[in-house]
């Protein structure tokens, strides 16, 4: 029996997996997302981001492993769902109903619903409340959907590529609304947001989960990740993982070897290497590239582990 009572994490998964027939859309996913963090969920298409979010909001059932979300196991029960706000990738809404009616719907479908908050938020954004949402712009629809998700007063907000279809201005507006909601919640709201737009994630998020090839590559504070990942440049040599660092990606020219490593010891220093800081984009790309190499190797060996 697990002795731990209330976890510091909003999400804890252990070996979580989802299989569709013989294909694992998500495999062995073990992550911890701390309460109050805004976590970026990144990875290439098909890495299992959507699958993970659906498992967390109980739209899918896990084929393997377990998940603990806000100290509960995912289920279809109202008690579980009431604490989670979710925005599906295509931002689905009833096209013929207007924002006001969507808010009314939320009021009828939730016990702990803040119609006033949602109305006020949308009014501030000058979104016409009585136009059918199918006739709103993509940015306005996304704002309405976010407003609905927030009106639930959730403790966890799961956003599946919410800004993917938006123009740059609408995207920034959306992120502003999100950041303000996080501020208002004063540490009580945890957000997990998947996106391909790394620059956006870097400004809004303080935690990152990298999925690739259906597996977790990294799950860490962004600050920690920036400190622990370095670029090592030096005279060409075959480099292997050591107890000091793990190589995420390496590249060679005739004379030079470049490594992107994760340091096990942040004080690591070796005169062979010139050490340089990396930004989050470089880290993400390195992990994505690494997983692609692995996939290629597996394919070349003609099998799956």
């Amino acid at each position: 029996m697990n002795q731990q009572t209330i976890s510091k994490n909003a999400i804890e998964t252990k070996g979580l997996g989802k299989r569709y027939r013989s294909f694992w859309a998500l495999k062995d996913c073990s992550i911890n997302v701390p309460k109050g963090s805004v976590s970026a969920l990144v990875g290439p298409n098909g890495a299992g981001k959507t699958t993970l979010l659906k498992l967390l909001v109980s739209l899918s059932r896990a084929s393997a492993g377990s998940a603990n979300v806000l100290n509960k196991s995912p289920s279809q029960s109202p008690e579980y769902l009431s604490e989670i706000g979710y925005l599906a990738q295509e931002i689905p809404m009833y096209a013929r109903l207007n924002a006001k009616e969507h808010i009314a719907m939320g009021l009828h479908l939730n016990d702990n619903w803040d119609s006033e908050l949602a109305t006020k938020r949308l009014n501030e954004l000058a979104i016409p409340l009585d136009r059918p949402v199918g006739k709103l712009s993509g940015g306005q629809r996304a704002q309405v959907a976010l407003g609905l998700a927030l009106a639930k007063k959730p403790k966890l907000l799961l956003l599946d590529e919410p800004v993917a279809a938006l123009d740059p201005l609408a995207r920034i507006d959306f992120l502003k609304s999100l950041a303000q909601a996080v501020t208002d919640a004063d540490g009580e709201l945890t957000v997990v947001m998947s996106s391909h737009l790394l620059a956006d994630l870097e400004r809004v998020c303080d935690h990152i989960v990298i999925l690739a090839s259906g597996e977790t590559q990294l799950c860490e504070d962004i600050e920690t990740a920036l400190k622990s990942h370095k670029l090592l440049v030096g005279v060409r040599k075959e480099a292997v993982d050591s107890d000091k660092y793990t190589i995420i990606q390496q590249s060679h020219t005739a004379r030079e070897t470049t490594l992107l490593v994760r340091l096990n010891d942040t004080k690591y220093h070796d005169s062979h290497w010139h050490m340089r800081d990396v930004d989050i984009e470089e880290i993400v790309l390195a992990y994505m590239g690494q997983s692609r190499e692995q996939a290629d190797t597996i394919a070349a060996k003609g099998g799956v582990r």
Partner: protein, 360 residues
């Protein structure tokens, strides 16, 4: 949840209500007109001694004849239309628009969501289909009285209580297939085919006739108004449209059915007298005068030789008709209603399974 269900589906209820009103606007005046004309004819036929002809002569004009058939035929499709336009989109739309992901992540269990939706739509179906069936039943009373044909598929399927059950089944089937395929168009096509097959073909032709053991009626092969214009016998179920004919066979005195491909040799007519026999491909009985002038009936079925019915008759063969008598009409309505309501449980159960167990 009730709020959402009503908000989502009120439009379709309104549309159905409008259609009901349109049909009522057509049918209430015509229904009254038919009934009064019929009553008037009955009241006055005694004077001219033409009461036996009232049924045959009323409403044979183009306009009335058309309405009397077109309206019931269009009613045949009401359950199918409900299945297609109320049943199929109910969940298929949610899946295609992704709105299932919106409602399933509110604080309402999928079970409750589905239950409320089903209750609204099925209740609406019962009300609308019930109203249409009641209108049809009332409107048809003249036709039923004149033509004695309410066991006929077109009329049985559109009157009484069975149409309500068809509609409930059709809507349930549409809902389940919509949930299964998650795409409206595919589900529409398959629902349409299945409903036509089940409601209009298989059940009326192959299942309905066997709800109860049929009654048997035997008569002479020659005493047949269709063959030789013998006077109509009111006991003859083939001339009484109010019954449901299950089968018609020629049987021997030992109740053995006649093998038309291999009939008693002495009855085979090798060169039919008179008109030169039965045109090839014809299986209907043909009357032909014999050499001495008395009519002789001959027949050929299943590609067998032409056979003299006079001969068969003298060997003791009779025509046996198995039929469901008209007094069983309401029994059959009830049985068919129960059958469809039980059938509807299958798609409804499947829908619960699909919604609760399958990933969004």
């Amino acid at each position: 949840m009730n709020w959402l269900a009503w908000r989502q589906h009120r439009k379709q209820f309104m549309v159905a209500g409008i259609f009901l009103a349109l049909f009522a606007a057509l049918m209430i005046p015509t229904g009254l007109h038919y009934w009064h004309t019929y009553q008037h004819a009955l009241a006055t036929c005694g004077n001219t001694n033409t009461c036996s002809q009232v049924s045959g002569e009323l409403f044979q004009g183009n306009g009335d004849g058309l309405i009397l058939h077109l309206v019931p035929v269009s009613f045949l499709f009401i359950p199918i239309v409900l299945g297609l336009f109320w049943g199929v989109p109910l969940l298929a739309r949610e899946y295609t628009d992704g709105t299932n992901k919106l409602v399933w992540t509110q604080s309402v269990s999928r079970k409750r969501w589905l239950t409320v939706k089903l209750i609204w739509v099925i209740l609406g179906t019962v009300i609308i289909a019930g109203a249409f069936a009641a209108l049809m039943t009332w409107w048809s009373k003249t036709n039923n009285a004149i033509n004695l044909n309410r066991f006929h598929e077109i009329f049985f399927n559109t009157q009484g209580i069975a149409p309500v059950a068809y509609s409930v089944f059709a809507v349930s089937l549409g809902i389940a297939l919509g949930a299964w395929f998650r795409r409206t168009m595919v589900a529409l096509g398959i629902t349409l085919v299945l409903l036509i097959a089940i409601v209009l073909v298989v059940v009326p032709n192959f299942i309905r006739p066997h709800y109860e053991t049929p009654v048997s009626y035997k008569m002479s092969l020659l005493n047949n108004s269709k063959i030789n214009g013998a006077p109509t016998n009111s006991n003859d179920p083939t001339t009484n449209g109010a019954t449901l004919i299950v089968s018609q066979t020629t049987v021997s005195s030992q109740n053995q059915p006649l093998d038309w491909a291999n009939p008693p040799k002495q009855c085979i007519v090798t060169s039919p007298p008179g008109f030169g026999g039965i045109p090839s491909g014809h299986s209907k009985a043909v009357a032909a005068p014999t050499g001495n002038g008395t009519p002789e009936a001959i027949d050929s079925q299943n590609g067998g030789p032409a056979v003299s019915l006079n001969c068969l008759s003298s060997l003791g063969y009779q025509q046996e008709t198995q039929y469901q008598p008209s007094y069983r009409y309401w029994d059959f309505q009830r049985i068919e209603t129960a059958l469809y309501l039980i059938l509807a449980v299958i798609p409804i159960g499947a829908t619960y399974w699909l919604v609760l167990r399958r990933d969004a």
